[in-house]
Symmetry: none
Subunit: 223 residues, 4 copies
Amino acid sequence: MAKRKDGIETREKILTVACEIFAEKGYRDAKVEEICRRAQTNIAAINYHFGSKDQLYAQVWRRAVDTAHQVYPPEGGLGPDAPPEERLRGTIHSLVGKTVDPGRIGDAGKLLLREMVSPTDAIEQIRHDAIRPMHDRMRGLMRELLGPQPSDEQVLFCAMSVVHQCFAVGIRLFTGRIPPFVKFNLSTEQLVETLTNHITCFSLAGIQAIRDEIETESNERSL
Amino acid sequence: MAKRKDGIETREKILTVACEIFAEKGYRDAKVEEICRRAQTNIAAINYHFGSKDQLYAQVWRRAVDTAHQVYPPEGGLGPDAPPEERLRGTIHSLVGKTVDPGRIGDAGKLLLREMVSPTDAIEQIRHDAIRPMHDRMRGLMRELLGPQPSDEQVLFCAMSVVHQCFAVGIRLFTGRIPPFVKFNLSTEQLVETLTNHITCFSLAGIQAIRDEIETESNERSL
Amino acid sequence: MAKRKDGIETREKILTVACEIFAEKGYRDAKVEEICRRAQTNIAAINYHFGSKDQLYAQVWRRAVDTAHQVYPPEGGLGPDAPPEERLRGTIHSLVGKTVDPGRIGDAGKLLLREMVSPTDAIEQIRHDAIRPMHDRMRGLMRELLGPQPSDEQVLFCAMSVVHQCFAVGIRLFTGRIPPFVKFNLSTEQLVETLTNHITCFSLAGIQAIRDEIETESNERSL
Amino acid sequence: MAKRKDGIETREKILTVACEIFAEKGYRDAKVEEICRRAQTNIAAINYHFGSKDQLYAQVWRRAVDTAHQVYPPEGGLGPDAPPEERLRGTIHSLVGKTVDPGRIGDAGKLLLREMVSPTDAIEQIRHDAIRPMHDRMRGLMRELLGPQPSDEQVLFCAMSVVHQCFAVGIRLFTGRIPPFVKFNLSTEQLVETLTNHITCFSLAGIQAIRDEIETESNERSL
DNA sequence: AATGAATGAGCCTTCATTCAT
DNA sequence: GATGAATGAAGGCTCATTCAT
């Protein structure tokens, strides 16, 4: 006889294992057979509980997003009244944490990064729910920091400059090209902190440089 | 009839089509059947000319790297005597071009980016030939620009900050989330120029900020 | 419906059909499609139940060996105390039965013979389990029957003389060159008996002749 | 430009190489690509020179039979007037030589043995031309040696006993289970001689035993 | 006469999904 | 509710053969 547990338990186990495997191998190379085996359930369980591999993936993704946002809230938990420099640091901290810190959000970070780069059709909806708000927020911050009259282009470019710096380490980590951080003997928390400091410092200066350029252009044009 | 020629033509046709499809769908989702159909050859042609799908992919990749390096040489064609700021601009230009300009390097850019993020086993060799030199070069540049005593960590972080800014637009382009550049009515050449300017400006300021930080730390320590 | 049972039945059906077809056509020319068709299952059943054609073959072979040994035990069921002439007869009976009697061991005999002549890589292990013991046993018997001082060479040659006589009819049967036994109206049991008698009589005399020769040589040498 | 040799040369090269490979791997596992490669010609050569793989095989087989018969003539070159014991020895010598002596007949022996055991459809005709005469001859010899009134059955069984002893070593040689002859340091010629002696001695005694049995039976019946 | 690029039929295998129990 | 035997569509690869040159 089969164990008549809760049904919820198996569901959760599958979700967890699936996240690991999707993160490790990607959607296509993750096999339902392996997920079920590692989740110690039968091969029909995924279809039984989730309807299909696609739908399982969507669930896994949604849970990853939720987990990541919960552990690393969008702007680091700061309110809208905090100075923009602080909110930038908070946002960078959040992004770096999400993609670098497997200790606290499991494999959600890898999954997020993977989807960031090779999007799957099935979950366009979810992606827009999760990623666009982040970009919108980042663009808002850039507008605050870039001063009076930045062009949409400049706002977008700066936003991308910041966002992709945050992804950088994550990408390198999960593609296996782990940089020689190990020798620095940094804990994950320290790594997140160090990276946040670096990117914030680097970016604030970068943004300021773009702002100066805008003003120079503006002055030239007004002459 | 255009058949039974010297075999080179068919080979090239397959290579071109395969690059498109690998870039578009990734290795796993690219079907040899589709490649052959679009190349107007028999389904066995890939095995005949390349031995296997794996080996075809390796060839495609190698050609993509070659093409990209030819059109966008590593440091923009500058010699080692040029000032480091210029060489940074050249390197950024090269990276941006490779990942943004489908007009001149076909789908090589997409392929490069894809491999950057989800590496395939078969071509570790090639990846090391193409990617590591770039990172080494970039780290060398950072050392020049960061002044007397940067730590390995600082060099690495700055290099990553620059490199991943360059990939940013490429990633966004090829994941289909085409940013609203279109409305700016920029040609690809203009886009590459604009991005190069932005990233160079942003990064030089960022690097300078890190350099200042280093010196501050150094002074504090020497007190 | 007779479907979705315990899986054993389908497995057995495949095993039986596969034995027939492997025996009939050999490993390479046996097609999984035909096996599945004749076993009235899906083409994927072999992979599901056995993993691969290779592994199916190994299973088939192991079962054939087991069946054959069960129906025709190595020395005809005689104990080690029986006189060597009787044990020789028993061994001959066993070998002849295994290779001649399709009525009681199905196609195992054909399979054994086929493997005897064109060994397959995958099952070296099994071959050593089944064939070497038989040869060792036969050589032991020869030593008993050849008297005091036979050379290894003489033991081996006599063993081969006996063993291959036993295979003779089997080979001729399964290569389709059925000798005109049919006209003798012999049942399979009678055929096995008749052949056993013939080979035993022929071989005991042959062995005795070699033994005489040994003694002659020995005498000559001692003169 | 292609070498415009004789055309005969290439043909012969293919025939030789094909014999090697067919002997080594069997018809099914021999690949035309490998044959052509090792024969240093193009992949279409087999079809060009022989029409098909089947027909090449038939040619190879016919040549193997011819070679074997030439080097080891059916009854060892003895005339019909020689005493039957001598002609038996000659026939055994011929059979053993054909299947054991790769030095003088190339791989023809292996090929013959292989075909002996797993006949190929395409060359039934040739097989009957080569094998049936041998069996007829052997049965004739048996009739001479078995005395006045042997049954067809007894004649056949004795013929098989002799013939298959001759194949024994060959089979063991070419299936890779080379017996420890090596340690005896026998040259091929010596091996052929030794085996011929053994089988002749063994068989003459065996035949005599069957003859005695016939006479016993006959006496019993006539009582 | 000879070549080798190209073909297509066929094979084994994979894998998400279904369904009887 | 849960299982796992079974399915079928599809994919990559093999290989003897063909045909334009």
